[in-house]
């Protein structure tokens, strides 16, 4: 008997005997491909997630570093050079800065490694003069910088700048979208927030 005969005879097996579950090799291949695609998608997702986490981590770290490493040191240097006066600020109204102010600002930027962010950098004096305009008659005192807020004192009562109910400050924040501008500045350049707050603090210290 030939194998052909046997194979042919097997073709006459009863229906119930040949009713077995089969998964074709092509289906297997496609399920393998699907599995591979899922794995690669998961890997991509993991990479993106890691990059996002790293980005957030660096974003958190960089302002602190800038503040701690450069800003503290530069503040000491700048305090002696800073030439803001209440009268000048009032006259200029936040629109004009003299060369000395520019120079001071530039030295701030350069020393903090932020020389390229001219748009954000130009924001700082405007904010400073805005505040000066609005709170000159306020018994406000800036005590310290805590996290991303200022500890202030109004008529001897301590509070965070974000919690203030001082009408001058509130109006300032409503008028100039103070926080949004500061936040935008801190987004365009990490560390800018601290730089601006520091400058405000410096200003009031001088005052």
């Amino acid at each position: 008997m030939k194998a052909d005969t046997l194979f042919e005879a097997l073709g006459n097996l009863d229906d119930d005997l040949i009713d077995v579950r089969r998964s074709s090799s092509s289906r297997k291949r496609s399920s393998k491909i699907i599995r591979l695609r899922k794995i690669s998608a998961a890997a991509c997702g993991l990479v993106i997630l890691s990059a996002a986490v790293l980005g957030v981590y660096l974003n958190i770290q960089r302002p602190a570093k800038t503040y701690n490493a450069s800003f503290e040191a530069n503040m000491e240097m700048t305090r002696s050079d800073l030439t803001y006066t209440e009268t000048e600020t009032m006259m200029e109204g936040g629109a004009v800065m003299d060369a000395e102010e520019n120079q001071t600002e530039d030295s701030f930027m350069a020393s903090s490694g932020m020389a390229s962010t001219t748009a954000s950098a130009a924001q700082a004096p405007v904010l400073v003069t805005d505040i000066a305009e609005h709170i000159q008659d306020s018994p406000l005192e800036i005590l310290s910088l805590k996290e991303e807020d200022l500890v202030i004192s109004i008529s001897g009562e301590k509070m965070m700048l974000s919690e203030t109910e001082d009408p001058h400050l509130l109006r300032l924040m409503e008028d100039s979208d103070f926080y949004e501008e500061v936040n935008a500045a801190s987004l365009t350049h990490p560390g800018m927030y601290h730089l601006i707050i520091g400058e405000i603090e410096q200003y009031f210290e001088i005052r």
Partner: protein, 203 residues
Amino acid sequence: MLSAIVYLPEVPARKGNPMEDAVLVDLYFARDQRALLETQSIYGSYCRSILSQIVDREDTEECFNDTLMALWRSIPPNRPEKFRLYMAKIARNLAFNRYKEKRADKRGGGEAALVLDELAECLSDTTSTEESVIMSELSQSLNSFVRELPERERTLFVRRYFYADQVQDIAEDLDLSPNHAAVILRRVREKLKKQLVKEGYDV
């Protein structure tokens, strides 16, 4: 009709179920050509998966069309209870015939096959009858042999020697290593040989 079978348009695949099978068979009985389109739609992939185990890609398509033609010719008078398995048997046998033709072509060219066909005309019908009786008896022996096999052995044997599936694929489906599956198959073959010898077959 032939052209309608050969030039069937592409039909999106669907899964078959008993109700659809009954309707499908009714379409064949009504000599409605939609039966062929529906068959292609529901069982096209299944049928091709059987054919492609035995013949190459090009022949798979030809055999698939031949299968549709065979279904059209055999239903009626046949009314298969399980359309899928009925189709599987036809497809397998057609594919095997195609395989034998190809093999004959390779051995002696087309002429040898023609000579054998011409000589076959000289042989008496008795031989053919004898052969068919032997085939019928052998089929019965194989049926009883396969039926007595344990389920796992039976699945392995049927998938390998009826559907001509690859050992690796069967092993994967049964959670066996390919080597284990091959060992089981060898044991089943030995068992079959013993049974065929016992029944007087010349093996």
